[in-house]
């Protein structure tokens, strides 16, 4: 395994609202290695975006507050770094791209201005040199007729092209880590494949590490080396990508894969899909037992409804937070589906 670039340790982020304290991220730990891609997958509200925003402290405070844990990036703890020093890291050493490139690009500034702004904030290049660099970057991300695009406004570009511009801005300062939050969710499938390929290319060309946040198991399968599955603010499973899809252990991961309609599945028209009953718990007052227990078909009357299962290593590199992982279930009976 290559060198560790980012190490998140027991991260806890909470939102202090009128209704109470929302435990959005509740004790999340993981490592990101140089040149590798970590996929964070989970459904809306599981804490995957809050985890990413906590890393670079982009959450509005209040209501959000990092109440515990460490984010170690190249030896420095980002949770305690002064804001001034963090500003130097954001955009130059850690870059981020978001789901909707229309809202993350400024509609009143030309594309050229938005790229050169970032370049000049983090380097000593002159205006002219920054412009030349901007054209190089746009060519690198595959924007056709890059030089003539520089003076265009974002609305003149399609969704896929805008996301290419965002990627150009993100890589402009050669970051060591790129965080991509649902980078292809707003795009059509044919464009999605191109953007995912581009991200992988950029990672290899610039020797970056990436964190890709997504709700889509297909996207994870496409781009990740290592995967963590989040549920209700916690990591419930972590494994290398092939291992996760070959031998999913957590009942939630299994159910999620089972609930996904498959494109290569003859006869699915005349079958019901395997749904997961119920919905995730309220994070205002999360249960102190296994958070998936209420929806889990293996839970009931045993340890997992008494206390919170630990995240434990079943096989080298494969961690799971469940009393009923697949490989230990042989022989145990399924609870009758509700």
């Amino acid at each position: 395994m290559s060198e560790t670039l980012l190490s998140v340790r027991d991260l806890r982020t909470q939102f202090f609202t009128r209704e109470g304290v929302v435990h959005a991220v509740d004790g999340v730990s993981f490592d990101v290695h140089k040149g590798r891609t970590l996929g964070i997958v989970g459904e809306s509200g599981c804490g995957k975006t809050v985890t990413a925003l906590s890393i670079i402290r982009l959450l509005p405070t209040p209501p959000a507050r990092i109440v515990g844990g460490q984010v170690l990036f190249q030896g420095r703890d980002l949770t305690t770094l002064p804001e001034r020093e963090l500003e130097d890291i954001r955009g130059s050493e850690i870059a981020m791209i978001f789901q909707d490139p229309m809202t993350s690009l400024n509609p009143t500034l030309t594309i050229g201005m938005q790229i050169t702004e970032t370049i000049r904030r983090h380097s000593k290049l002159s205006k002219r040199a920054a412009r030349v660099r901007a054209i190089e970057l746009l060519e690198e991300v595959g924007l056709p007729r890059a030089a003539s695009r520089l003076d265009d406004y974002p609305h003149r570009l399609s969704g896929g092209m805008r996301q290419r511009v965002m990627i150009a801005i993100a890589i402009s300062c050669d970051p060591a880590l790129l965080i991509a939050d649902e980078p292809t969710t707003a795009l059509d499938v044919t464009v999605q494949a191109q953007v995912l390929d581009l991200l992988a290319e950029m990672r290899d060309a610039h020797d970056m590490a990436m964190i890709v946040i997504t709700h889509d198991m297909g996207v994870v399968a496409d781009i990740a080396d290592e995967v963590i599955v989040m549920y209700a603010g916690q990591v419930v499973e972590q494994a290398p990508v092939l291992e996760l899809f070959d031998r999913p252990e957590h009942p939630y991961t299994e159910a999620l894969l089972g609930a996904l309609p498959q494109i290569e599945d003859p006869g699915v028209r005349h079958r019901r899909l395997t749904a997961i009953p119920g919905r995730p718990p309220d994070l205002l007052d999360p249960p102190e037992t296994c958070r998936f227990a209420a929806r889990c078909k293996y839970a009931g009357g045993d340890a997992c409804t008494q206390h919170m299962p630990e995240l434990r290593e079943l096989r080298p590199g494969h961690l799971v937070r469940s009393e009923h992982p697949a490989s230990e279930r042989a022989g145990t009976r399924e609870k009758v589906a509700t």
């Binding site: 494949a193 899809f245 609930a259 003859p266 028209r269």
Partner: protein, 285 residues
């Protein structure tokens, strides 16, 4: 296919592009739907897939006459809808309903769940107040929504629950035909399967006919007997679902199917290599 309930012939819809602030003049037009024809059989689901801007939702709206087609014909159970107006159209509209994509935007936030579901009954003057109330509870029960919550407001519920409210409303007048416009694309995977199963169950129970519009090819496969693939306003391929997925004839359909990410890292790597090979071959030309 069974006997057709809906027959669409040479449907065309264009939108004018206007310029000018005080005096608007039409400078050009966009052809959103071009020469679209298909039948939907009684009790059948026709899946309509395509990328954004392909004209699939516009086609759905033109069938329901929410948008009036520029030309072409839409026949519903023997009635030519494009020529109908006023009360005649209203009478037939009871039998055709729409389920929307976004359960957050499509429900009036100031109406209670009971009022939302019961509104079509009021508009079409069905039953007494008492009967309507009973019908609303029955409908909510059918879609798996606790009828005890009729006095609550939509914001109190999750996306999946809201979509159930939208479906209950669509069922209120016992329609024969429902256009489902991206009914699950705003929902999480675990909830999505619940709603797809509900739509399947309702179809069985009430013999409903669906036009199922979606961009997600896996979701469309799970729901449809036949599939129509749209691109740039036209239907490029139409056939039995199993056939279209197993052996797509059109290049566009093949490209679309190839691009769908599937939860299988080995297959994805294979595809990635294939795409890279194609790109470098193109670059060398």
């Amino acid at each position: 296919m069974t006997e057709p309930l809906v027959q669409v012939r040479n449907l065309h819809k264009s939108f004018p592009i206007k310029k000018g602030i005080f005096v608007e003049r039409t400078v050009d037009q966009v052809d959103a739907v071009i020469d679209v024809s298909f039948d939907i059989g009684k009790g059948e689901t026709l899946g309509l897939v395509g990328e954004s801007g392909s004209g699939k939702s516009t086609t759905g709206y033109c069938i329901l006459q929410i948008l009036r087609p520029t030309s072409g014909s839409v026949v519903f159970d023997g009635h030519e809808l494009t020529e109908l107006k006023g009360e005649d159209l209203r009478r037939l509209r009871r039998r055709m309903q729409l389920v929307f994509q976004d359960p957050f935007a499509s429900l009036d936030p100031r109406m209670t769940v009971g009022d939302i579901v019961g509104e079509p009954l009021v508009v079409h003057k069905v039953g007494s107040r008492q009967e309507r109330r009973a019908r609303v509870r029955e409908l909510l029960d059918v879609v798996g929504f606790d009828p005890g919550y009729t006095n609550r407001y939509p914001h109190e519920f999750s996306g999946g629950q809201r979509q159930r409210i939208g479906i209950a409303r669509a069922l209120a007048l016992s329609p024969d035909f429902i256009v489902c416009d991206e009914p699950v694309s705003a929902l999480d995977v675990s909830i999505q399967a619940q709603i797809l199963n509900l739509l399947k169950d309702l179809q069985q129970e009430f013999g409903l006919t669906y036009l199922f519009i979606a961009h997600d090819l896996a979701v469309v496969r799970a729901m449809s007997d036949r599939i129509a693939v749209m691109n740039a306003g036209r239907i490029v391929e139409l056939g039995e679902a199993e056939e279209v997925y197993a052996s797509p004839r059109e290049e566009y359909t093949q490209a679309l199917l190839q691009a769908v990410p599937i939860p299988d890292p080995r297959k994805m790597r294979e595809r990635k290599r294939e795409r890279r090979r194609l790109r470098s071959a193109l670059a060398e030309q």
